[in-house]
Amino acid sequence: MFEPWDVVGIARYERPVRDLNDRHCGTRALSGTDSLTDLGAFGAFFVGKVTRMEIDGPTLRPEVADELAETWRHLGAPGTWWEGRQRTALAEVARAARHGAAIPATDLGAAATEAAVTVAAHPARTTRPWVEEMVASIGEEPYVELVGVVSRVVVADTVARLLGAEPAPLPPPRPGEPSRVVPEPRPRRIRTWVAIGNVLSPPRTLALVPDEKRRTNRLLQALYMTWADMEDPDFRRGDLHRTQIELVAAAVSYANECFY
């Protein structure tokens, strides 16, 4: 009766079915599910085919749920410079570092592990010499992809944690070779520590790895607002006015000691 869809969902409450064709997400009230057999812990992310869903309480906007689902699907797949198993390992290291847990043993190598730990747990401690050291060890493009992967894992985990959910289980790695696509023309390094070209703005920072840039920007815009909406000081997202949105953003950035 109902078409299955891919979904990532977090919900803390129950309420009756509102619209079964709505792409909102839930956790406790999921039923009639398919391939969700071992993801049923209360509050967890779900990635899978859902054939029927009941939702209660706050739900993620459909575009946010879609982008989180896409982030999780893509995490275990081959990237541009890292294999799927390496990307999953980076996520595992980043998650442990972010939450102060023991860093798991992987075959990522010392530099990639250090980079994932630092970006995940101590981003403000990065320095130009440190980035140059990382880039010398793992390469500039792989470093940029690592930054994107780690950042998106932290983003997804933060959504879960603030909603009182457990972080989603990491997806199984998928086989395949990285695409090793290099942007043409390759961006130049001007004032930043990695090459992002001559437009110095956050959407350009991952320009060396176009696929990672595109996916990360889509996720961040779904969660925050589109680049176009950023021009509007009176922007509203639902009941939140731009001043309220920016207060949250400022509090996060201050707590992270992010000067930018």
Binding site: H99, V154, G238, D239, L247, A251, V252
Partner: protein, 110 residues
């Protein structure tokens, strides 16, 4: 962006609330929203932070605030890990805010 939005929409805001939880931001639900933002960064999240925002602004707004907080956990990392910094002109524009919040002590203030 907070100051810019407030000034352009004639809404009051006390920027000191970004750094000091005891200061009222003068934004509806501001104390609760700022605390949610702080909780996003902490290792051990106080899970009532969401509920407190929801109690004041409603659960849908609280979910949207969670999404904003999560987005900036990403933005902050990407910006810091790639060395994106303010231009001199932008820094001059923000000098009052930088001084007010003592942002010059942040590692990347250089």
């Amino acid at each position: 962006m907070l100051r810019w939005s407030a000034e352009n929409t004639q809404r009051p805001v006390d920027l000191r609330a970004i750094a000091d939880p005891d200061v009222d931001p003068l934004v509806p639900g501001g104390r609760e929203l700022a605390e949610l933002g702080r909780q996003a960064v902490s290792r051990e999240v106080d899970r009532t932070a969401f509920d407190r925002v929801a109690a004041v602004l409603g659960s849908e707004a609280a979910v949207d605030a969670v999404c904003v907080a999560a987005a900036f956990e990403g933005f902050n990392r990407i910006v810091d890990a790639t060395g994106l910094s303010l231009t001199r002109a932008r820094r001059r524009e923000l000098v009052e805010v930088i001084d007010l919040l003592d942002l010059g002590r942040f590692p990347h203030a250089g």
